[in-house]
């Protein structure tokens, strides 16, 4: 070997080094791409978790409420109708003023009252209606603080900033600190977030209404898309004659799977609302729209699962005299069911996270009541996220993230169920 050859000289070594450097660079690009994608995932989830966890906790202040009979039950009969009309807000305000007797003047007093949520009066009313005998006595009740006061204890208010730049005045911060040093302020797990409907007040708003709406909507979706999808898949795989019509159906299914979700919303608006006159904002219509949207997913998953059942099973069943329908009903479908269910659950998970088509059919209304049926006005979890994200109050940022966490928890649970189903029951032939 001489050192002057094309493949072994100094130039050749330099060439090789360059090529190997290019190789390492290329590998690095790939790593960087994956790092970027995973970094984005971690940032996204991390942001939501960090911002969302405070939504699950909140601060309450314990007030000594004097349940003055003159204010709550002037008739004196302790009848629920009379008790329901009592001036509970006054009682809460009196309790606050008793704590800070030095506060004078309308503006200052209003600021003091603003520390406690408007939900305090409702809580008190509920308590009194449950136990009418309390009227006349003095009780200690923990009531929610307003969203600004809550944010102060969560560290969201910079007391060093200029007074005009923050939502709480100097006096309000002094009062809050005084309440805290008296041991009246306590951090609680915020069950209200899970059991209340929507509200304009962040500290009173909850996701229960949206969650129930999501359940009704998904129920309608499942009820329609599962039987229709499986039946269509069975027909296409087992019975459909090869021909133009079958090809056309397949093209349609593939196209439907690629249609932007918002177009399904337009369909729902034009056909279900305007043509059929179904109610706006109803889970029934939302479920219909989402069913059409998930139908291709269910059909495609079911078809591949049915196709995976070996032909030998069909032939054996036919050999002992089963009719085509019996072959499908007794043998193919039970064997394909795990795959079908997996696909259906994944389709449902997608439907649960879908927002855009539901905006079109009016499921964006501000709805306080928990929906009671498929035709009652409702909203769903992702739409609730959208609504809260649009709200100007700062405390809604935490509520939005909290709702996202709940939504993600459901999605994770559904995906886990699908994975478990697949690994436990799916047979490889």
């Amino acid at each position: 070997m001489t050192s002057g050859g094309v493949h072994s000289g100094e130039a050749a070594r330099r060439r090789l080094r360059k090529r190997h450097a290019a190789e390492r660079r290329f590998r690095l690009y790939g790593l960087a791409a994956i790092g970027l994608a995973l970094g984005a995932l971690v940032t996204l989830l991390g942001t939501v978790v960090v911002r969302g966890l405070p939504a699950f906790f909140g601060y309450e202040v314990t007030l000594d409420l004097h349940l003055d009979a003159a204010r709550l039950d002037p008739q004196g009969g302790r009848r629920p109708g009379d008790l329901g009309r009592g001036d509970y807000g006054r009682v809460v305000k009196d309790a606050l003023r008793a704590l800070f007797p030095e506060v004078k003047g309308r503006r200052e007093r209003r600021r003091l009252h603003a520390l406690v949520s408007s939900g305090a009066a409702f809580d008190l009313r509920e308590r009194v209606l449950a136990e009418p005998d309390l009227v006349g006595s003095t009780i200690a009740l923990a009531v929610p603080l307003s969203d600004d006061a809550d944010l102060f204890f969560k560290g969201g208010v910079d007391a060093e900033a200029a007074e005009a730049d923050r939502r709480l005045s100097d006096a309000q911060i002094t009062w809050l600190r005084a309440l805290q040093s008296e041991g009246r302020v306590a951090r609680r797990f915020w069950t209200r977030f899970f059991r209340a409907g929507d509200s304009r007040e962040p500290e009173l708003a909850g996701i229960w209404g949206a969650l129930v709406g999501s359940l009704w909507t998904l129920g309608v979706t499942l009820l329609l898309s599962f039987p229709l999808g499986v039946a269509a898949a069975v027909y296409l795989e087992e019975f459909a004659p090869k021909g133009r019509l079958t090809d056309f159906i397949e093209v349609n299914i593939n196209n439907l799977a690629a249609v932007p979700s918002i177009v399904f919303g337009l369909l729902g608006l034009a056909v279900f609302l305007n043509l059929s006159g179904l109610p706006r904002s109803a889970p029934l219509v939302g479920g219909l729209v989402l069913a059409l949207m998930t139908l291709p997913t269910v059909i495609i998953a079911s078809r591949s699962s049915i196709m995976a059942v070996p032909p030998g099973i069909r032939e054996a069943a036919m050999g002992i005299g089963a009719s085509p329908i019996q072959v499908v009903g007794h043998h193919v479908l039970p064997l394909a069911l795990p795959g079908i269910l997996t696909g259906t659950i994944l389709g449902m998970a997608r439907a649960l996270g879908e927002t855009a088509p539901l905006l079109m059919i009016g499921m964006v209304a501000f709805i306080v009541d928990v929906p009671t049926g498929p035709t009652a006005p409702a909203t769903v979890l992702p739409v609730q996220v959208y609504l809260w994200a649009d709200s100007p109050e700062r405390a809604f940022v935490a509520k939005t993230s909290g709702a996202i966490l709940v939504l993600l928890a459901f999605l994770v649970a559904m995906n886990l169920a699908a994975v478990l189903l697949r690994s436990r029951f799916e047979r490889r032939w």
Partner: protein, 458 residues
């Protein structure tokens, strides 16, 4: 509705039991004499019980609106009957709302109250008579079918014929959905184009549909030139692709050619998580975190950045589409035959040279197909742009400015209450039609490209 369904369910169950018992009785327990199994006879009777009465219920559903319409104006005072069509429609809608105890658009007068009363009568009568009729038909079907049970009756074949028809019918739902989408978009868009010429819509440079304030100000007042909207969509899509294509493609290459099986087993599902996150979450992230970040960055560099920049929406949308590009490219890259790689490696090429000069050119058609599918996904994406991009229709290629997209406009035009006949709402359907056609075209082209490429190596 619910009691009717329950009653029908109960009746058909009874029919099944009766039919099965009858089959036993006909052959005196010697079931081998029967053509089908006893259960099939039961199913046959149950079908005869349920299907005709279902037909009655469906027929009533179809008939009821016409009956109500007729009753609304039958016997109404002349001044109501002679109202112009829109007012007539309003009257009918109010009468219906009043009969259901809902809010009407104006204080109900005596004519309206009378009409509502008539509607209530029709509905009450309908519920009673249809319920009765359905029950009678169900019982008749039951009795007739039960009487016809003979050992020679091919019950199973009859039942299976019904089942096969039902299966075929469900596969037609996919066609129905497509037809529904096309018809609803085309009809409403046609009404829009009757108000605004097609040329003005496609090439007009000014988009301000929100200007129609008064009811008599239809169509002519708002500007419906959608070019800025299309341009905004293109800009955001291009930004998203600038993120998703390189990252997705490089990730796919790394996973298929460099990563150890263990890395691949972990990273691939993690990437798929990105595809499973609801878009509203991405939108929240874009509006709350990325938007302000982009703005701060721009300000530090001394650029004018609006708080709802195209860049923030495009970047986040790009992240959303990464798994879409990477999993499709992964399939395509894996489909390149081993022999091509081995040939290249055998000639002394390094791994990256093999990928760049052999694998990628061979996989190019498939990758192009994947990118086209990703573009169609980006164009149709709604929530990210609704939450993070702006509403102002700027005709601009500057990613730091706020632009608007087709989907954003559809949402803003249709969310909230408005007259369904105004050009403003109809414009949403015209935009929807454009969106549908473009995404459909992209998908068809992509599928053709991918299929042709696959055939090359099969």
């Amino acid at each position: 509705m619910l009691p009717l369904t329950l009653a029908l369910l109960l009746l058909s169950t009874a029919a099944f039991v009766l039919g099965r018992r009858r089959a036993f009785a006909v052959v005196e327990g010697e079931t081998r004499l029967l053509h089908s199994q006893p259960g099939s006879y039961g199913q046959w009777v149950a079908l005869w019980c349920a299907l005709p009465s279902l037909a009655v219920v469906v027929a009533w559903w179809l008939l009821e609106p016409a009956l109500i319409e007729w009753q609304t104006f039958a016997g109404a005072p002349a001044e109501v009957v002679e109202l112009p069509p829109e007012r007539r429609e309003l009257f009918a809608r109010d009468a219906l709302a009043l009969s259901a105890g809902e809010v009407t658009s104006s204080e109900p007068g005596p004519a309206l109250r009378a009409a509502a009363g008539r509607i209530q009568r029709v509905e009450g009568l309908g519920q009673l008579s249809v319920g009765g009729l359905a029950a009678a038909v169900a019982l008749m079907g039951l009795g007739w079918a039960r009487g016809r049970i003979r050992p020679q009756l091919r019950a199973r074949n009859h039942v299976e014929a019904v089942a096969r028809t039902a299966l075929a019918a469900s596969s037609l739902v996919a066609i129905l959905a497509t037809v529904g989408i096309v018809l609803s978009l085309v009809f409403e868009a046609a009404r829009f184009f009757a108000l605004v010429p097609l040329g003005d819509f496609l090439f007009g440079l000014e988009w301000s549909p929100q200007t129609a304030i008064r009811a008599d100000q239809v169509g002519s007042s708002g500007a419906f030139g959608a070019a800025p909207v299309f341009a905004g969509t293109l800009l955001i899509t291009a930004l998203a692709m600038a993120v998703a294509v390189p990252v997705g493609l490089l990730a796919a290459i790394f996973l298929s050619d460099y990563a150890t099986p263990l890395t691949r087993a972990w990273v691939k599902p993690l990437l798929e998580i990105l595809a499973g996150i609801p878009t509203v979450v991405y939108g929240f992230f874009a509006a709350l975190s990325v938007g302000p970040l982009v703005r701060q960055l721009g300000e530090r560099l001394g650029w004018e950045v609006s708080s709802e920049s195209a860049l923030a929406a495009g970047l986040v949308m790009g992240v959303m589409i990464i798994p879409f590009v990477s999993s499709l490219s992964d399939d395509v890259i894996n489909a390149v035959p081993r022999s091509l790689r081995e040939g290249s490696l055998g000639l002394g090429a390094t791994k990256s040279e093999t990928i760049r000069r052999v694998v990628l050119p061979a996989a190019l058609p498939g990758i192009v197909g994947a990118v086209l599918l990703a573009i169609s996904r980006a164009i149709g994406e709604t929530m990210i742009v609704v939450m993070a991009a702006g509403l102002a229709a700027n005709l601009s290629a500057n990613p730091f400015e706020a632009v608007t997209t087709v989907t954003v406009q559809i949402v803003t035009l249709l969310v909230g209450d408005q007259e369904f006949d105004s050009a403003k709402t109809l414009a949403a359907f015209a935009l929807g039609l454009a969106l549908f056609l473009v995404t459909l075209g992209l998908n068809v082209v992509a599928l053709v490209v991918v299929r042709r490429y696959r055939e090359q190596y099969d």
